[in-house]
Structures are given as structure tokens and as C-alpha cells.
Symmetry: C2
Subunit: 192 residues, 2 copies
Amino acid sequence: MNMQTRTPASSPADNGYGFSDRIQRQLEHAAHLCAGQGGRMTPQRRDVLGLILTATTPVGAYDLLEQLKTSGRKPAPPTVYRALDFLLEHGLIHRIERLSAFVPCTHLQHDHPHDHSHGPAETCLHSAQFLICRSCGGVTEIADAPRVLDVLKSICGKKNFTMQSASVEVEGVCEDCAPATRGQKGPAPAPN
Amino acid sequence: MNMQTRTPASSPADNGYGFSDRIQRQLEHAAHLCAGQGGRMTPQRRDVLGLILTATTPVGAYDLLEQLKTSGRKPAPPTVYRALDFLLEHGLIHRIERLSAFVPCTHLQHDHPHDHSHGPAETCLHSAQFLICRSCGGVTEIADAPRVLDVLKSICGKKNFTMQSASVEVEGVCEDCAPATRGQKGPAPAPN
DNA sequence: GAACTAATGTAATATTATTACATATCATTG
DNA sequence: CAATGATATGTAATAATATTACATTAGTTC
């Protein structure tokens, strides 16, 4: 890819959000993952994913819509929802049901230089487990999740239920926001 | 005032739905539970709970609204949402996040003659675990749930996260629906 | 029964999501 | 290159879900 004279004409807003280097790397990674599954990481999708990666809390579809409007284009809801659908199908983001909002899939967050093993459908099962803080709004994906998933799998097995996707959402108060237990730090500034 | 003086004027729709004996018993049970917590099981709330108990699949707020309209009153959304909030707070129903719909809490379903130990906030933690069938729309509360909850509790403990409520929702195809879709249409590979 | 609290009625609006159809872009290949 | 077919996006309208704010009614307590 040569990018000497000009940025791609079709994506003037592509970097218009000033995505950090780290996020640009994650976007690059995501693009490779998509390509591996025959998906195309278009500028729209890239922008949406970039905004989700940039946010420190889950982002709603209409939040995204507003942010996209500030950068030249004036997208309508379907534009955003289609991008979100694409990103969900490719395992790049998750939907937090309780918030009607979206977060990146963690395997984008932790820079894996060349770990492509975390496919979308097969290995990931498109399931996720989250801790949602009511105080700061932060959401943490549970690392310990395989244990939860194993229990669920075993239950489904017993009941002959074919699991296609699963979501586990715990709402409460995160460590940083809990005032009573220790010296109060106040609501946490930024999770993750 | 004694309860003996039935209020026929204010609750003509009370039994207007022809709730079965079984459901009337469940409603009675629910009323006692509420009373024990200082809650009042009003006709509106009773009707809403009865409709949810009657349905075989999760019911949406506007479904309830429509059904309530057929029985004399013409409630508006807040009426239904307030009843739902009350029932949720008293642990009588659960919200299925993925469906934006409501189901009875199982402890109303299985007739316990005198089991009032299943309090709403403390013992129940207002958490629930469900299997949601994409084919028939049926929802099953997982009986085996304590195991799931225990794992979650242990994770939250490690992270100093105070759990206030949790939802576990598994989507897929239930046993009864699996044979019908066994060929290519099955839930086999791609999530789409 | 006056005063207070809880519950409901009512109108308007907010938020989240989808449908249907038109247009544009891309990736070929004839 | 032009024709093609699939993929992606634009656009307008609307559906589905949920909340706000304020008025009214019902129940309880003193």
C-alpha cells in the first residue's frame, strides 16, 4: 500500500477522528481478521469500530450517529446499524444488552501481534461476559469467562439445547467506585 | 377496611381475563409475597402479572398494553411500565434483555404451598439464567443456575465488584425444535 | 376529614431499531 | 473497457420500546 501523495479519496474522514496509533493498529488488525473471513473493512465500518475502540464506556448507536455526523458525512440510522451488524458478525464488537450499547471485543484491545486464532463464530461462539458498573458506566469483560461458559455448555448439553450465542451481564459497583469499603477514590475515570 | 368487602367497581377486569385456577393461585401467592415486603398487589399489577403468567413465551410491554385494552381500561405505556417495575422489584418477573420482554420468575410457576424463603433481593439477588429458543420463542429458566451464579460470585469477589444483579441469556435451538431443522437449515455453522 | 403517601391517568416525547427501496461501489470477466 | 452481479451505502419513513412531567385519584394515618 503506497500512501505517499494522497490519502484515499473515498475516505477523507477515515482518520478524521484522530484515532491514536494504538487504535489504528487495532483497526489494522481488525481489517486483517475481516479479510481472512472474506469481509471488507470499509471506511464506514472502520470509523464505527474506531469510535467504539476509542470510547471508554459502551457506545450507543445514536451516539455513534452523532459522532459520525461531525465528520463530513451525514449518515442515517441504517448506516450505523449495518456497520454494527457487520462488526458483530465478525466478532469485533459485542452488544451489551442491558445498555443497548456496544463495546469492542477484548481480543482487539490486547495487542496480539499475530494471534488470529480467535475466530468469530467457532472459537469465540460470539458470547461475552461483562461486569457493568452502575456508578462509572464502565464495562469490563470477564477474563475468567471460560469457566462460566463451560458450565453453560454443560447445562445446554444436558438439555439438548444447541447454544448459538450467550451473554452474561453482571450489574453492580466496581472496585474503584465502591466508597464504603476503602478510601474513596470517587468514580473511576476510565475502565480498561 | 376489611378485605371481605370486595371492590367490584374498581376491579371488574380483575378476573376479566379468565385466569385459570392455577394462575389465580399463583397470583394469590404473589400477593402474599408482596404484602410481606410492604407492597400492594393492585388490580393493575395483578392483571399484568396474570397475563405474563398466562403466556407461554415472553411478553413485551406493548403486548401487555394491547391485552389490557381489551378489558375495559385503556392504559397508556407508563401504566404498564410501572406495573412491570413493581413486579421486577418484588422479584415476581424477570426481563429478558435480548427480547425486551418479560417472563414470570420460576418460583411462582412451581406451586410452592408455603415456601416464602425465596425473597426478592437477598436470596434471589434478582438474577436469572435463561435458554432462549430462536425457533419457538420459548424461554426456559435454568434450574442448574446456582453453579453459574457461584462462578460469577467468585469472579466478582476476586475483582472486588459488588454484584447487584446478573443476567445470563443463552440463545440457540431447544431440544424440541432441533429435529425439525436438522438438515441444512440447522443452527450449525455461521451466525447470520 | 385533613393531610400525607402511594398509585394511576394522560399527553407528549425520547430512545432504539427496522423496512423498503434507490443508488453507488467494487471485483470480476466477457 | 463495458456489462454484470454481488456487496455496500443513501434516504425517507416508520416501528418498537421506554421515559418525562404533571394532573388526578385512591388509601392510610392522624
